[in-house]
Structures are given as structure tokens and as C-alpha cells.
Symmetry: C2
Subunit: 291 residues, 2 copies
């Protein structure tokens, strides 16, 4: 028997991953959760039938979710992760010693449990008690609203903007994030595929700007198991703090020095050069964002 | 009836494109040629069942095949394209007025005929007689060997390194290319996916170096319908010519000025920023090339 997982990227495009066995299949209070062993991409985590990560290429997504913001906001002490129950974003944040407190706000405890069991190398920061990490199982939008002025970094590691993840792309949520950031804070969020979701990216830019973020920049990287094999994130910064009230700029304010060598050595995608490259967007993306 | 084209990227990864109809299916002297209309990626050209291009994303491949080399070697007058019978590479070369003579050496006349008929926007430079373009139907490796010192640019727009395309990745062929280049000349070639073919890229680097090319640099871009959604090309330069005998360097010698505005305006992927970004490689690629 041949077992294939097919993900519909659009009505006319599908990615197929050959699977050798099903490791887990369950229904949480919020979604269906499956873990499959694939032939070529290691283990595969699905939420409601959509690829969340594979153990072979998750490093790109998680490194790019975290390090562009972290190497710009060098004074950050507190970080909030919305979603990200697999733990990959927390794992990357933990590499930065300046972060004293990392709050992971994931709505679904089962995602964390399944990740700890089947993806221990991703959930490594959640396996044991860690005084720097606080794990909350609650609605991220509600939590952000109730905690103004508390975080230097907010990382929105959400699912797609359908169903429960939709609110995490809304102007109301972004406004709460803006208030939840301390002066000089930075928000980073995954913003889908430039090949399939340019309209979404444009909407994100407009809503972040309307929410008070004066500086909004997208960056991209290849992620082979995501739609189009090409993914985007947004970097948005809030006025105030460190640099004489300026907003942090993703290219002008990035600071990477000799003391960062140990952190960089642990990474497989991100480099200081990649940081600069990732923010240079193709012309068709620039044009679409301008329109 | 649902018609789907499935391409096997590896034993365990497939890309599926929904097709609405078959426009052409034939067997040339060299290979099977199919043209399908897809739901989401426009028209699809297959050679021996493998994706050569789709009309929706071919611009990325062809712009990146051509412009990095052209914006570095600004004094180029003669260019040779090996393969590339669809005409996309010639179309991009024609944007550069300094190129007085462009030779397209394609082994299979049927590929050119099918492209002219079904992909006129790709084959635009081949539709009518053009004094700058010379079309040869012959084996590229043989042609290069017989024409030493004739070209400023050689662009290897080959199929995958299996079957007839294999020789175009060999050291013997690269040595012929080195000899076919004029002093200060530049070679660019497609070198497959960094996710699936790092060993091939490493071999290309070694063989180009052994063939006399003192400067060999890879660059990348996303191409959604190619394996891994992420593609690579190599830039290699030959000593001599313009810059006091130096080899042209893809970042130090790139020259883009106000007079290039018209060319840049016609492009959809490449920009001067993308030029610099594309040569910055992810850490896992750098490490693999070093090993």
C-alpha cells in the first residue's frame, strides 16, 4: 500500500508527501491533529489536514520567524509568542540570552503535548521546566488585549488566516499587539506565500499601519513544504525606547557581532548576509504591495 | 473528469498541477513533448514528462538565468545559449542593447516549434527574423568545442542532468565553455534545487574550478513549480578583458545605472537589490559547498 498525504495549495496545485506510517491521529477541542512519518521530509505535523511543519524544513521557518527581529532588537528582555505550540519559535528565542522571559500563548494544549512527544527536537524548550519560559493555554487575542506595555517582542506564529487563526490577522488584534509592546518594541508575524497570498500581505501591511506601526517591512525565505515553496513574514516596529525614540529598522539597526558567533553556529538557514538578503523583495511583490 | 499532472520531485515528494486540457502531445527525435493548460499556472511545457516551464512562473527562472550575468559583464557583445529552446533566455538577453549577436544552440527543433506555437510570449525573440539572433539546431557540447574564443557570455539553460542533458554538467563540457569564452567572459548555468541537489551543486563547483574558472559563485531564487520550489544558478568568470585582467565578480562588478531603467521596468522578479540578495546563500548551502 502506498500512503500519500496531499495538501491542496490552491484548487489547481497540490503537494504530495509519501508517508510510511501514521504516528498519531487525534481530535483536540480545537482541531484535528495528525503526525505522519514521511519518506523524505522526516515527521509531518498536520492541523486540520494542513502542514504545520516537517522535521526536515522547520528550521527555516522557525529561524526566520525569530532571528530577524532578535538581531535588530538587541535590548529585548520579554517576548510573547502567539500560537507556536510546536515549540520551534521558543527554541530559537532561547538562543538569545538577553531574553529573560518568554511567554508562549497557545490555545490548544494538545498541540504542545503532541509536539513534545513526536517532535522533541522542535519542542526542546518546552520539555523541561525552564525559568525563562512561561506556557499559557489561552486565546492569544484575549491575552494580548489584557497585557498592555509588557513585551519587547511579539511573534505571531499562527496558522493560516482561516477558522481560529483568522483573528490573528485582524486590525483589532494588531492594535492590541501595538499596545502590548513596550516602547521600541518589534512585532514579527508569518504572512503566508507571496505566490498565492499577495492580497493578504497587502492587507496585513495596511492593518499594521492603521494599528500604529510606523515601520512595516516584509521578508521572505524558501520553505519547500509550504504553498509555493516560498514564504513571507512581516517585521513591524513601535516608536520609542532605545534609539532616541526612533523605530527600529530591520536593516539599519541590525547588530551582529563577534559575541554572536555561538548563536549563529547553531543555525542552519539564517546568517547576517541572509538577514540583509531576506528583506530585498522581488519586483512583483513590491509592485503588489504598492498598488 | 479531473486531469492532474504529477511530477515526482523525489521518491517521496510530488507536485500536482490540475490541468484543464492537453494542447499538444508529440514525440520528437529526442524526447516526448507535451503542452497542457493548467488551472492555476497557465500553460505547462513538459519534456519527457518533466516540467520545463509554466507561463505563470517562467519569468523568475529566465530573468535569473540572464540578468545577473548581463548586469555584471556590461561590455558583452556576443552571447551563446545552450539549450533554452523555449526562447525565454533569448527574450531576456534581447533586453540588453550591448549584445549584438545571440546564438541559440538547441538540439531539438521541435522544442522551438512547439514554444513558438504555444508560448509566443516566451519565444517572442524567435517568432520573427532578428539580425541579432542566430538559431542553430545542434548538439551544444559539440558546438562549444568547435568555437574557441568567440563568446562574452555563455548561458547553459539545460534540462536536468539525466539523459541528454547530463553532458552539460561535465568537466569536459565546462572546459570547452572556458575556451569558447573570450577573455573576461562569464558563464551562467542552472544548477538545480538546493534542497534536493546539493551534491550536484558541489560537483559543478569542483568541475568549473578544475576547468579554469577561478571565480565560481552560486545564486538562488524561488521557482514554485520546480522541485523544492527553490532553484540555483552558478556564475563563473574567466580572467582577462576589461578590468585589468581581473575576473568579473558578481557583486563587486555589477553596474546598474539610470540608463537601465527601461530594462528594469520590463522585469517582474529581478531588481538591483535582488541581484545582491540572490548571491547570499543560506548556511546549510554554504556548509554543503564547503565540505
Amino acid at each position: 500500500m502506498e500512503l500519500w498525504y496531499w495538501e491542496e495549495h490552491t484548487k489547481g496545485v497540490r503537494l504530495g508527501l509519501k508517508c510510511t506510517r501514521t504516528l498519531y491521529s487525534g481530535q483536540s477541542k480545537f482541531q484535528k491533529i495528525d503526525v505522519l512519518e514521511t519518506l523524505d521530509y522526516g515527521r509531518l505535523l498536520l492541523l486540520d489536514g494542513l502542514v504545520m511543519l516537517t522535521s526536515r524544513d522547520e528550521f527555516i521557518y522557525h529561524e526566520m520567524m525569530v532571528h530577524p527581529a532578535c538581531f535588530v532588537h538587541r535590548g529585548a528582555e520579554t517576548a510573547l509568542v502567539i500560537g507556536g505550540g510546536d515549540g520551534g519559535t521558543v527554541r530559537e528565542l532561547l538562543r538569545h540570552d538577553n531574553l529573560k522571559r518568554i511567554v508562549l500563548c497557545e490555545i490548544d494544549p494538545d498541540v504542545v503535548e503532541v509536539s513534545k512527544r513526536f517532535f522533541p527536537e522542535v519542542a526542546s524548550g518546552l520539555l523541561e521546566e525552564n525559568s525563562r519560559v512561561e506556557l499559557l493555554f489561552q486565546d492569544g487575542a484575549g491575552f494580548v488585549e489584557e497585557n498592555p506595555g509588557r513585551f519587547d517582542l511579539i511573534l505571531i506564529d499562527s496558522t493560516d488566516p482561516v477558522g481560529p487563526g483568522e483573528i490573528l490577522f485582524s486590525e483589532g488584534f494588531y492594535s492590541s499587539c501595538f499596545r502590548a509592546l513596550r516602547p521600541g518594541g518589534v512585532l514579527a508575524a508569518q504572512t503566508e506565500s507571496p505566490f498565492h497570498h499577495l492580497d493578504l500581505m497587502k492587507g496585513v501591511k495596511e492593518r499594521l499601519t492603521a494599528s500604529g506601526f510606523g515601520l512595516v517591512r516584509f521578508y521572505t525565505a524558501p520553505v519547500p513544504t509550504y504553498p509555493g515553496g516560498y514564504w513571507s513574514w512581516v517585521f513591524a516596529s513601535k516608536q520609542g525606547g532605545q534609539a532616541e525614540g526612533r523605530r527600529l529598522h530591520p536593516l539599519r539597526d541590525v547588530k551582529i557581532g563577534p559575541s554572536d558567533e555561538m548563536v549563529l553556529k547553531g543555525l542552519r538557514y539564517y546568517t547576517p548576509d541572509i538577514h540583509h538578503a531576506a528583506f530585498r523583495l522581488p519586483r512583483f511583490v513590491l509592485e503588489a504591495l504598492k498598488r
